[in-house]
Symmetry: C3
Subunit: 314 residues, 3 copies
């Protein structure tokens, strides 16, 4: 039986979307749904699946949402947790990521969840330490658990993304969320549109697999799903866009835009939202919005991945 399961999920790390097959993705989604339904029936939100296993949360970039979501997933699976946060990262002071990794490994955790400002650091850790790793966001590279939870949230409302039009709007250039989502949605057969100011969406992003739009109205027309990205207001000072007002005027998703999309189009945002900058409250709080589903599904997806990487090996 262990053999069958191992076949079902052959990975030892979740570093990015590329390595996952369509079947892998379906298996992750199914596992997340199973765990979710088990927990919905129970008052005691806890299983002993990862009891006695130690998960190291290495968050070297500030994060609350993703860290808390992983922590909740780990606690529900009864894992032991060690948190190392940016603020207390003396461990890396004057130390290469290689030495830090080897030091952590000598403490024999069973899995490392890593968020790091440098793209590729989860891959580096996994390659050199031979330990299960989950990428919780690496620089502007990828954020695979976000893309998976986004997909689960969409699939809770529509049967499939195959052939569906999904528009991603905002700072595509710096967004690991966008990158992972494009890769995953294309893999699952969706048509992806990318929309944003030209400074944040160069024509070469088309190579990611999406169609490029600079006009929001055109981009959302007929879309089944519209996914807004968070505007990093600090980018403004770096010259990527002139003022918040300018951004809002051109790229804030409003009720008017929603009408241009398909009937019952879904609206998403990874949070935290800048209401009135990238999205109007009327839309964010509408029945079309998946925003809170995304948060809740984050825990289910992360439980599924932790379980698939660690819990089945017994």
């Amino acid at each position: 039986m262990a053999r069958r399961k191992k076949k079902a999920f052959p990975h030892k790390a979740i570093l990015g979307i590329e390595a996952l097959s369509v079947d892998d993705v379906r298996y992750i989604i199914d596992t997340a749904r199973n765990l979710r339904s088990v927990f919905k029936r129970r008052r005691i939100k806890k299983t002993p699946a990862l009891q006695g296993r130690t998960v190291l949360n290495l968050f070297l970039e500030p994060s609350t949402r993703t860290r808390v979501s992983f922590e909740l997933a780990e606690k529900r699976l009864s894992a032991d947790i060690i948190n190392i946060a940016a603020a207390s990262s003396a461990i890396v002071k004057g130390e290469s990521i290689f030495d830090t990794g080897r030091t952590l490994l000598a403490m024999s955790p069973d899995l490392i969840v890593i968020r790091h400002k440098m793209g590729g650091s989860p891959h580096f850790l996994h390659k050199h330490l031979e330990i299960p790793v989950i990428n919780a966001g690496d620089g502007i590279n990828q954020h695979p658990t976000q893309a998976l939870l986004d997909l689960l949230s969409i699939l809770d409302r529509i049967d499939t993304v195959e052939g569906k039009t999904i528009t991603i709007v905002g700072d595509i250039k710096h967004s690991r969320v966008a990158r992972s989502n494009v890769l995953l949605l294309k893999k699952m057969g969706a048509k992806v549109r990318l929309c944003g100011p030209p400074t944040l969406l160069q024509p070469e992003y088309a190579t990611l697999g999406g169609e490029i739009f600079y006009d929001l109205k055109q981009a959302v027309e007929g879309a089944h799903v519209v996914m807004m990205l968070r505007v990093q207001l600090e980018r403004m000072k770096m010259g990527y866009f002139p003022t918040t007002n300018e951004y809002r005027r051109l790229y804030c998703f409003t009720a008017k835009h929603l009408k241009l999309a398909r009937k019952n189009a879904l609206v998403m945002h990874p949070g935290p939202m800048n209401r009135w900058v990238e999205i109007e409250p009327e839309v964010a709080d509408s029945e079309n919005s998946l925003i809170l589903d995304q948060v809740a599904n984050g825990i289910s997806i992360r439980m599924a991945l932790l379980y698939l990487l660690l819990g089945e090996k017994g």
Copy 2:
């Protein structure tokens, strides 16, 4: 039986003192004492009462004492704990408390303990999220668990506060501890005196229910209990009082003052103390002092409240 207990404690949140009836207060005190006596007899300081329930500690104002006290209470009841502290509050960056609250709720914790610099934020969370909330201090508004632990500490030494004179000394204006204590002590029938410099104790504070004094000697004369508040030294720069020395000369509680109070008068301080500023070591360390009882009772009161809000619903 569950029904009887629900009747006994009808609340779904501890936001302030007003909502609690005299019977509620007695029930909380009794529950705290029961839990305390159970734990005193045991080497293993742990019950499974909240096993599998998740408590979210949202401390958006720095705090160690209160946070640690809540954490210990939660651990003794076997709850799972998620800590979100000021330092890591990226979750609220550019987000309204409403969005933060909804995000947290989507993670389905069973109860939120919140400390926030804005008065009323616990009420807001409870109202909009329909989830049990405990106020761990909201701005200059209230700190109900502190008032309850203070009451328990007093009642461990004297049978009742009814008809007793209790003097609260210090920065009444900015003190949520004072506010919750006045409300609770008046409710339980005590005579409350408030004492402090006129800049920190305007005449309108009499409406809280206490008698106003500007002279420490008069204020403590014949008192059964004297409760000192912590001086926030940073207020000095804001012009509320001229120098530490000036404050000390007029409002530091000394052995001489203690002699003016009743025989065996009780001395209290919520901590951390500025020795020699608001209280003399000779008094703070005397047999009259309840200061360490207050710390220990903090855990018992918080266990009781968590238990009453979460543990009985099974």
Copy 3:
């Protein structure tokens, strides 16, 4: 049986090396080895030895390595953990260590692990609070758990340190690691050599029990073990040594130096390493290196001490 064990380990605190007898040290090492071998055989890295006991980690100086190592040890023994870190030390704001200690004690933890910039603070806490205390580093005074884990790492490779030559190189003056190691190694019969720039190694350090060297080649000649200390680069500005390059030229341990030592000489470093400053990668990553063993053994030693202080009293 409890009696026999109590005899076997008579201590109530680990404050420094002096109080430990040779038998105590052997007993600690044996206990650490036993725990290590139990855990090596198990997939579930957890025993219920300290279930329901609360360990307070009071890290008032920044630390990740040591804190994480203690936390892992505590979690493997199933203790409840309260972390108080420098960043959140409002508890000590305006408070003496005496008041902080009493406050913490009123919360009735079962043991305090303390790191503090003031030498002697663990002793102070233990004396006044009558509670088990483990010194996790106190100023430039001692770091006994580091010395014990270093000894365990050495003894995993050679049978005994008796009569062996062990060279400690670096900033002896400010190193609690050096101090605890000299005391422990001398106690166990080793010959200790100390080496460093004259500004960081005054002749009076000979009274610690080591022979003084200012020349690295001479110091490592014929040594069985060479232990490098971390250079605190901020000392450079304080005038203790002129430049990193100057330090490296004189005191960086290289492959050439290793050849001067005994065949199969062991190389150690408490981490984090400044590669190329105090040690060459070729040496740090060689088969002679115990550096990762030191990290792994840290958890075993700390589990042993926690167990001996708390777990046997039942």
